[in-house]
């Protein structure tokens, strides 16, 4: 019992082949879209590489790039095949290739789906990478004289200005690290020495933040230092003051930004996957209906097209048997001494009457 059979007349077959030809070319374009989405994602992740710890994040854009390229090649080939399928003679050329092609395309479509799902599941890895990366970036903020870290200050400042955020979780993160380099601290001053001594690790901590945390929308000039000290500034209460600095943490800001991008990209890849699946279904119907035409011998006749010849379970079982016997082609059957003709009933045919000839008299 065939799975989802449909009857195809000659005109219907021709139309299907033409439509599939156009759809395959559109799929080449969607393959290029996939490729460019992968490149875009790769560029976006690389732009903030300094702020992310080592992780497997690069696998998602790499997958999309590979899948995009393969999609272009497969759909180009599919377009060529469908173009030739209108003519039954030309179809003979492709007859042996079509089934492997369909199987390959089916597995390829699965990988497109995997790519789309990877986009959505990148969440956890991203959060971890950002937490560790931002923490390190803030720690090395002051090391503008250490090679390899001298641009971290600029990166963090530009990040906080662009994404309108401050610190990892909030602005208080800056109170817990020394972000002013020792090069700019006057060690001869009493105040500096006291502050260094009061800290266990000898760090110069203060309740101040870098200028990049300043909120542009604040009606008053920015208060960066002595933030928690209400008496240091006129008409200021740090509990109620919300417009002075950016309140959002940079981890949340970056996570939201990347999640938005990933969701949009994932949605586009899902839509492309559905499109590829429909094209694959069309090609399968075309292949089975054309094979049935060849089986019936008349190029103009009506034929059936189906997804699977037998039901799902039987097809799976027969395929499994084929795979099982693939490994057995050089094994000998020992039950009949290796001779395959033992114990076989005679099947000789003796002419139209089927009368066995009389045995010839033997000379004595």
């Amino acid at each position: 019992m065939a799975v989802l059979p449909i009857k195809f007349t000659k005109t219907k077959r021709d139309k299907l082949a033409q439509v599939l030809w156009v759809l395959n070319w559109i799929s080449v374009v969607t393959g290029i879209i996939l490729f460019s989405l992968g490149i875009f994602l790769k560029v976006e992740i690389n732009k903030r590489q300094d702020l992310m710890a080592e992780s497997q994040l690069q696998s998602v854009p790499n997958m999309l790039i590979a899948v995009g390229l393969i999609a272009c090649v497969i759909n180009f080939l599919g377009g060529k095949i469908c173009y030739d399928c209108v003519d039954t003679n030309k179809f003979l050329r492709w007859k042996l290739v079509m089934l492997p092609y369909i199987i390959c395309t089916f597995f390829f479509t699965l990988s497109v789906l995997v790519g789309a799902l990877m986009c959505y599941s990148m969440h956890g890895q991203l959060e971890e990478a950002l937490t560790l990366g931002l923490r390190d970036a803030m720690r090395y903020y002051k090391d503008t004289d250490t090679p390899g870290r001298c641009f971290l200050k600029r990166t963090v400042d530009q990040l906080q200005i662009q994404f309108q955020c401050c610190g990892n979780e909030g602005y208080r993160d800056w109170f817990q690290i020394q972000w002013v380099s020792n090069r700019y601290l006057d060690m001869s001053q009493r105040e500096v020495v006291d502050r260094l001594r009061s800290n266990v690790e000898g760090k110069y901590l203060m309740d101040g933040v870098p200028f990049s945390c300043c909120n542009v929308n604040s009606p008053r000039p920015c208060i960066q230092y002595q933030i928690t000290n209400n008496s240091a500034h006129f008409n200021y209460d740090f509990h109620t003051e919300e417009l002075n600095l950016w309140m959002k943490g940079c981890r949340q800001a970056l996570r939201d930004y990347y999640t938005n991008i990933m969701h949009s990209v994932g949605l586009t890849v899902l839509i492309i996957w559905l499109f590829e699946l429909s094209v694959l279904t069309g090609v399968r119907y075309l292949q089975t209906s054309l094979e049935n035409v060849l089986r019936q011998g008349d190029p103009e006749c009506e034929s059936d097209g189906w997804l699977l010849e037998n039901s799902f379970v039987e097809t799976a079982r027969s395929n499994f048997n084929i795979i099982k016997h693939l490994g057995k082609f050089n094994q000998i059957n020992i039950s009949s001494n290796g001779d395959p003709n033992i114990d076989k009933p005679p099947t000789a045919h003796y002419g139209p009457d089927n009368v066995p000839p009389k045995p010839l008299p033997m000379a004595s």
């Binding site: 090069r183 700019y184 542009v216």
Partner: protein, 351 residues
């Protein structure tokens, strides 16, 4: 005296028409590009409109948009004309249309050239406008509670961060203006009272700048206040320190940005102008060479084409006269009134 006379064989006419068709579609595209560039320039100018005193500079993008639209129309008609040109049956219906068409086309093409010249010439006006606008912006920086000026602070801060500049001419402009509002000054403190008393106008001036002047590329945390006081900060010399705050003035930054934009646009529009002039010249040559063919039996004869039948001045007067007549239509001509007055005078004396 004929201008630009050329001989045209039949084959040459056909080639001219084909080349012209392609050229006119290219020129239509050029007109669309001009229109888009005009829209883009207008948007960019409006984005920073708050720091500009007047809108004189907007004449450049406005002209570009008008010229772009006109150019698309001119070149579309050019392509239609050249399509009909080789067919002697369909060509005559364009006859009455051609004279006003050429008049308009030449007018708009010269307007295109004028817009290119304007884009280079308006630099001075732009600079003056920005100077006054930025001066006001800095002056009203602190007035975040005055309606109509409450977003000046935000505008100036965004501007300084985006264009990496500080102040009008340079950062010292901030020393001459009170940019900290009185709402946030503690008038009971001695330091504040001294500062205000020492100033003639009673303003609170500091040698400090807003945080938006801070340079992210600086290796040390930003020094915003007491900039000129070397002893207030460790290991600091304000004469040699270049990376701490942005040195450049915002007027210079903005003028450079807009002039760069307008130079690029000017170059593109100039090439579109050359393309359109060649289209117009080709249409004129095609039209004049086809006119000689009209009414002839043999269509494949060799004809002459020219750009202008008479000299430049005479042709110009020929076009301008109808326009002048239109404008003088409702003026009464004095010589005619005199004999009338004389006639009425004689009639009154006789009666």
């Amino acid at each position: 005296m004929v201008v630009g006379k050329m001989k045209f064989t039949f084959q040459k006419r056909v080639k001219l028409a084909q080349g012209l068709w392609l050229l006119s579609w290219l020129a239509t595209l050029g007109g669309a590009v001009t229109f888009t560039l005009g829209c883009f320039l207008k948007t960019e100018l409006r984005r920073r409109g708050e720091v500009m005193d007047n809108t004189d500079i907007h004449c450049v993008p406005n002209t570009l948009m008008i010229v772009g639209l006109a150019s698309m129309g001119i070149n579309y008609f050019a392509s239609r004309i050249c399509q009909d040109a080789l067919d002697p049956g369909r060509f005559p219906r364009w006859k009455t249309f051609l004279k006003p068409y050429f008049g308009c086309s030449v007018f708009f093409t010269t307007l295109m050239l004028i817009s290119v010249i304007l884009s280079y010439a308006m630099k001075g006006s732009l600079e003056t406008s920005l100077k006054i606008g930025l001066k006001n912006g800095i002056r009203f920086y602190k007035d975040t509670d005055t309606p109509g000026r409450c977003f000046q602070k935000q505008t100036i801060d965004h501007l300084q961060m985006e264009f990496q500049c500080c102040g009008n001419n340079d950062y010292k402009d901030w020393f001459e203006v009170q940019w900290i509002s009185n709402r946030y000054l503690d008038f009971s403190s001695k330091e504040v009272k001294d500062c205000i008393k020492s100033n003639v106008d009673g303003r609170y001036l500091v040698d400090g700048v807003p945080f938006s002047c801070c340079n992210p590329s600086s290796p040390r945390p930003c020094i915003q206040y007491k900039i000129t006081n070397n002893t207030a900060h460790y290991n600091y010399d304000h004469q040699t320190e270049e990376l701490n705050i942005f040195i450049r003035g915002c007027r210079e930054a903005l003028v450079n940005y807009y002039m760069g934009l307008m130079n690029t646009i000017g170059a593109v529009v100039l090439s579109v102008f050359l393309l359109q002039s060649s289209v117009l010249a080709s249409v004129r040559l095609l039209q004049t060479s086809m006119e000689a063919v009209a009414g002839q039996e043999n269509v494949e004869i060799e004809t002459e084409g020219y750009l202008l039948e008479k000299g430049v001045k005479e042709t110009f007067m020929e076009y301008v006269d109808p326009v002048l007549k239109l404008l003088l239509l409702n003026q009464v001509t004095p010589p005619e009134a005199k004999p009338e007055a004389g006639a009425t005078g004689t009639t009154t004396t006789t009666s």
